[in-house]
Assembly symmetry: C3
Homo-oligomer: 156 residues x 3
């Protein structure tokens, strides 16, 4: 692991990335769809099977999808919390950052009670736009979906 990038020391990048995710995910989980959309680049893509099996492309489409999901959850009285851990940050060429994290998705329903809804891995490509970190690509995989075909090695 290189501890310095062309731009800045690794510890600064790492702290900045953790702070970025804290704000990004809190906004997402609390239904602030328009604010979340701005944390993606204009040309961002996101795929998250099985719910989002085909990539959503472009900030406008992401915003619409985030708004729809937020409204559905509010109507249903459901809250999700995405708890990221084990976040690895690897600087790439052109000042990209490859971020790979575990995500425990916790669901609280209108009946009360919180439980682990899904265990996921979130792989993002971050870039800088006017100094601010933005997500250009996101691929989310669920461990229980990998299990459909136990013979394959999805992470090989």
């Amino acid at each position: 692991m290189s501890l310095t990038t062309a731009q800045q020391a690794f510890e600064r990048t790492y702290a900045e990335v953790l702070q970025f995710y804290a704000e990004h995910i809190q906004a997402m989980d609390e239904g602030r769809a328009e604010e979340v959309a701005l944390t993606f680049t204009e040309d961002a893509s996101l795929v998250s099977p099985p719910k989002i099996a085909e990539p959503v492309r472009g900030r406008a489409n992401l915003r619409a999808g985030l708004r729809k999901a937020a409204d559905a959850q509010a109507a249903e009285g459901v809250r999700y919390r995405r708890c990221h851990t084990m976040m690895s940050v690897r600087p790439g060429p052109d000042a990209e950052l490859f971020v790979r994290a575990y995500v425990q998705v916790v669901r609280t329903g209108p009946d009360g009670g919180s439980h682990l809804h899904a265990m996921c891995v979130c792989e993002d490509v971050l870039v800088r736009r006017d100094g601010a970190l933005k997500i250009r690509e996101r691929v989310v995989t669920r461990d229980d979906q990998l299990r459909v075909d136990p013979g394959s090695s999805a992470h090989g």
Copy 2:
């Protein structure tokens, strides 16, 4: 997000805050009530419904409450672990820090087996006293309590 405060670089503050919480929460979960009390300011307040519906005010009262809870858990053979993630740290005026984090509270009972007990959000105001971080205000909310009135938007 500003990456520098009047005092020090953001990455230093961020690392210091993460370390503070690791030590603070481990002490709390392991029943070291007197040590935990010292991580609050003399005039600190804490509210955490439904168990602590009315704010507890002052370090002496906090210490007594922490001691009582620790003794009750030891007698019952119960251990709680508070797992903080998605920690956002925002410097405020007068060198305060506003910290907002997700908390998965995991309970292990005398019957064996660990399970998710509650999904919370912890909102703290940290200040510095003689160089050390201290908690001046803590507000904890539980997602399953928010669900009692699904029509309201507690995080709006």
Copy 3:
């Protein structure tokens, strides 16, 4: 807590440690046993009751154990994710680092569905070898094992 070590600022050490664990644990959970073995020192020891009740000593033995576990999990169609939080990092003498963290172990089985398998505490001694962090000692304790004798205080 000292914010500076003889070597470098605390924030740099802290970011480096978080990155080390992210890569180390992802490799372990995804069955890359040989890669994981290299994150331990040649003379490392690991104990993790009840599964590993007697310490495993030496990198070669660790590698063999990691390979066996990875193969068994692949054959069974099981994935574990170790989610570390509340990571405290304390510099010791001789540039050692004492790292203590909570670990939620999440299991996803071939039947689908992910659940909390165990709540653990992981206590490591890290050292530097040719600039890279390595684990020299690991002690993992499970909260549900501590419960066997509720009268004792395992965390004194």
